[in-house]
Structure formats: structure tokens, C-alpha cells
């Protein structure tokens, strides 16, 4: 095993340059080091101006998503040893505007997420004295997979539909809508319906499936979207066949 590995890191400093450039850094190749450790070594010892986001370094905060050798990855969960002898290309997360170096603007997602009402919606809230909303383990299992989302945006980066059409609501937002639709405590399916059945909602998805492949938490957003397509289609059929029936 060699001592070091080369990181080819995308740099972009607005005001100083008009286009991104690539800078190479050699970092120690330690068998337990992730790409994030390599970046931290660069920032600590070689170039303190390198900008990137990270926080928990254990795959739960969703901050450190970047494009590593062309794939959207959490840099804290991507190990240098798997890319030996290198070099390792580290670029900002694809499909997002770049603010600086490896930092991208995720404002688009932050605006879309509240639009799917990702919270428990009740027609009438129970008072605190009435106690908790009870749920069986089976009922929790119905939605728990979709609750694992850490909002890391790797799915948006992998999704070609989002790349071609930034108006697409996107995998994570749609999966989170499903997380609440399938929650037995929630009564908000109607509230979420109009956005979901919009052409830029679930019907924008063509089931490429790359979002599910990229997801580090096993959320399967593609599955969430296809399930809702079936639900929405059946609901449309019902309202067509029984126009005055229950929605």
C-alpha cells in the first residue's frame, strides 16, 4: 500500500476566476480514512481556503455530499483505500449551483420541502391531556423506511430528470411526502395531493431508479414515488367512477 493518494479537487472562487479549476493534493493514504478525512487534511495542512461542508462525519447529518469519481457520495462514508492507487476526483454535488469550491446551493430543495407538508396533519388536533397518538409496530413499519432520509441531496444529484428539469419536485421531497401519507397518525393526504399529482410532482419521475441507488440510507425514493403513482391513479379512477363518493 502506497503512503499517499492524490485528490483532484474542484476549485471555484467567484470573483477570482470565472470557471472551475482542478487542484491536486497528495494526502496520506490511511486505511481507515474517508475522502472527508483527506479533505480535512488538505484544509489543515495544505490549503486552508478549501471550502466544503461537513459535520457529523458518520453518515447521519447529510452535509458532506459531493461527487467522488463521478458518483454522488457522502464523503464521510467513502473510503480512500477503495480508490487506491487513485487519483480521486472530488467535485461539488452535481445538478446544484456551485457557491464556492465544493459548496453548493441547496436552496431549491429547502423551498420545495415545506411544500409537501412534511409533518403530521390532523383535521383536529388531540389535546395533550388526551395522550399520545398510538401506533402499532406494524403501522410504524409502513413508513419507517421513508423516514430514514437525511436530506443529503445525493438523490437529486443522481436524478437525470432533476438535472434536465430543475422544476421537478425531486426524489427526497416526494419520499418525505409519502413518509407522512403512510403514517397512520397523519390525515393530510388531501393536503399533499395537489402538489404530488402535479406534472412536476410524481408524474415528472420516469423511474430511472438512480436515486435509490445513490441513497446512503436505503430510503428507496423511487419506490415511494411509484407507489404513490399507483395510489394516485387508483384515486383518480375512483373519483371518476364515483364522483360523489368518498375521496
Amino acid at each position: 500500500m502506497a503512503d499517499t493518494i492524490t485528490l483532484q479537487v474542484a476549485r471555484y472562487r467567484p470573483g477570482r476566476e470565472t470557471a472551475p479549476t482542478v487542484e491536486e493534493f497528495d494526502v496520506p493514504l490511511r486505511k481507515d480514512w474517508a475522502v472527508l478525512d483527506g479533505l480535512n487534511h488538505v484544509k489543515d495542512h495544505q490549503d486552508g481556503t478549501l471550502s466544503y461542508r461537513w459535520s457529523c462525519r458518520m453518515g447521519i447529518c447529510g452535509s458532506c455530499g459531493m461527487t467522488v469519481n463521478g458518483e454522488p457520495r457522502l464523503t464521510c462514508a467513502t473510503f480512500l483505500i477503495d480508490y487506491a492507487p487513485g487519483p480521486v476526483r472530488v467535485e461539488p454535488l452535481a445538478n446544484f449551483p456551485v457557491i464556492r469550491d465544493l459548496v453548493v446551493d441547496i436552496g431549491d430543495f429547502m423551498r420545495k420541502l415545506p411544500q409537501v407538508s412534511p409533518w403530521i396533519v390532523r383535521r383536529e388536533e388531540k389535546s395533550v391531556s388526551e395522550g399520545e397518538y398510538l401506533q402499532t409496530p406494524q403501522q410504524m413499519e409502513d413508513y419507517s423506511q421513508f423516514s430514514m432520509c437525511i436530506n443529503c441531496m445525493l438523490c437529486y444529484s443522481a436524478c437525470p430528470v432533476y438535472g434536465l428539469d430543475p422544476e421537478f419536485v425531486g426524489p427526497a421531497a416526494l419520499a418525505l411526502a409519502q413518509r407522512y401519507n403512510l403514517d397512520s397518525r397523519d390525515e393530510g393526504s388531501d393536503v399533499r395531493l395537489d402538489l404530488l399529482i402535479h406534472p412536476e410532482g410524481i408524474w415528472g419521475c420516469t423511474f430511472v431508479g438512480e436515486c435509490t441507488r445513490a441513497c446512503p440510507k436505503g430510503v428507496d425514493p423511487a419506490g415511494a414515488i411509484q407507489r404513490y403513482k399507483l395510489t394516485a391513479a387508483l384515486q383518480s379512477l375512483k373519483s371518476f367512477v364515483l364522483p360523489r363518493g368518498p375521496r
Partner: protein, 120 residues
């Protein structure tokens, strides 16, 4: 993104091929309708149709169409469990079983058609 965004990755390219298979599904329906029409028009029309269908280009087209039809069916059945969650006695059926059900349906329908058309 360029028009050829899908060339960069194998998974994207496979996705585009999968979507393209719909064009060949449409062709197979048109071909079937042409066959039925030729049959309805009588013996000589039917023979002329069969001769046309036997020409090299049409055979090549139909072989390629068959390949795309198989791709279409297999990818569709394998993706069905993602959309269709089936519960039996409170437990969720494993995806392989749901896909298996679709394949089983394919075999049954094919057997019925073979029984009707081939073994007369």
C-alpha cells in the same frame, strides 16, 4: 445538460434503452394489426403479407423488436414490486414473490394463447 447526457453512465444508457423499447412495443402492435387486416382481406392478401414479412429487413426489424419486447417485459415485471405493495395476512409479500406473480401470469397467458393458436 447535453442531449447525450445518458451516454456517460451505463445505468442511464440502460434506462434510455428501456424507454426506447416502448417504440418497438408500438411497432409490434402495428404489425399485429397489419396481420389481422391482411387475414381479413382474404387468402391472396394474407399470402402477400407473409411474403412481405419474410423479407430480410422486416425479419431483422422483427428480431430486434422481439429483443426489445423481452427487455420491456422483464424490466417491467422486475420493477412492479416497487409500485405494488401486496399484503397477505398483515405481512408484506417479498418483492421476488410479487415479480414472480407477474412472470407466472405471463406464462399462463402465453400458454392459453399457444393452446388457442398453435395446437389447433
Amino acid at each position: 445538460m447535453s442531449t447525450f447526457w445518458w451516454i456517460r453512465r451505463r445505468s442511464y444508457a440502460f434506462f434510455v434503452l428501456r424507454e426506447l423499447s416502448a417504440v418497438f412495443v408500438a411497432w409490434s402492435v402495428v404489425f399485429l394489426l397489419l396481420l389481422v387486416r391482411a387475414l381479413a382481406q382474404g387468402e391472396s392478401e394474407y399470402r402477400a403479407f407473409l411474403d412481405w414479412a419474410a423479407t430480410p429487413w422486416v425479419v431483422l426489424l422483427n428480431v430486434v423488436t422481439l429483443a426489445f419486447l423481452v427487455l420491456h417485459a422483464i424490466t417491467w415485471f422486475n420493477l412492479t414490486p416497487a409500485a405494488l405493495v401486496v399484503r397477505l395476512r398483515g405481512r408484506r409479500l417479498p418483492p421476488a414473490v410479487v415479480a414472480g406473480g407477474a412472470y407466472a401470469g405471463w406464462v399462463v397467458v402465453s400458454a392459453v394463447i399457444v393452446g388457442l393458436v398453435v395446437t389447433r
